[in-house]
């Protein structure tokens, strides 16, 4: 049987007064995921940080399609990074990066302006 990997790309808006580097943000997402689902559950997510723009507070995560709800729940439970209050909101979800970018620009949901 072919083991097809169907990725899901998640565009995120990070709202905080602080600015965090790529590693800190990704560690926080992993931390949140492992706290909610354990190491076994988190290992199924196939989480990758595809794009991160700290100044715009924008990120794109990739995960397995079966782990989409897990990753969305994990990002929703993030409340602080480096002792700064944070809220992470999902802007759009898609199966390809191209469609994700189109979705964001169509709906004008990326308020920070410019392209991703």
């Amino acid at each position: 049987m072919i083991n097809r990997r169907r990725p899901r790309y998640i565009a995120l808006k990070i709202e905080s007064e602080g600015i965090f580097d790529r590693k800190t943000f990704l560690n926080k997402v992993w931390d949140s995921l492992t706290r909610l689902y354990g190491e076994y559950g988190a290992s199924k997510a196939g989480l990758v940080l595809v794009n991160y723009t700290p100044k715009k507070g924008f990120a794109i995560l990739r995960c397995n399609h079966k782990a989409l709800l897990m990753v969305r729940a994990a990002t929703a439970t993030i409340t602080s990074i480096d002792e700064e209050h944070v809220a992470v909101h999902v802007l759009a979800v898609s199966g390809t990066l191209k469609a994700l970018r189109r979705k964001i620009s169509e709906h004008g949901r990326l308020k920070c302006g410019g392209t991703i």
Binding site: L69, R72, A73, A76, H85, H89, V90
Partner: protein
Amino acid sequence: MSRKFVDLNLRLSLRDLNKTRKMLEKAYELGYSLVASSLSPNVNKEDVDIIQKLCSDIGIDFVTRVDLTPKTRKDLLGYLRRLRRKFEIICVRCVSKVIARQAAKDRRVDLLVFPSLDPRKRFFDFQEAELASSALASLEIPIAPFILSSGSPRVRLLSYLRRETMVAVKFNVPVVISSGASEVWLMRKPRELAILATLFDLDFPIALDGVSKIPISIVERNRKKLSPNFIAPGIQLIKRGKNCS
């Protein structure tokens, strides 16, 4: 037609209107079209008007809500008699079994909340659900305590919420998911709230109804009842004046 989303438990401050405005703007940005905030039972009409004005400027509908924490059954009945026609939503924080049972069977109560983390003080069991299902009360689950907790308190809270939602679904008691946010950084999109509700084994469509259809139906039902044209359930005044033939 796209869904309308509701946050029935936004903790707005009447003292800090700047913060209140920010929270309402954020609620609008996150996709909510209707929000409710708990007000003091003795709130002035002017204070309510200020929030309503803020909401209408932003383009969001505001619902008045009161959270009651009575100590005795008599207190609860007194509050309900006094406040039912003043507020659109009445929520009872069940801190004792007597209060929980009375609130579940009283048709004037809209929402039941169990705030305690002590397992002996969470009274939403089969009997409570049976009473609530024959009345009009819904079970409210605020998400903020879950987001803010960690470690063993979070595990315990998840376990209680899983049991309570299972009981509610079994007895057809509507479940309302709300943010319970007192700060902007605690506010989440409606779909995120629904996804968090799936952590306590609520199906995603039911959880999504808990932030849209169910709270909307509660608000519509109560607004109808509070309207001057309401006479009795099923009887409504549709026209007044001399030419009513």
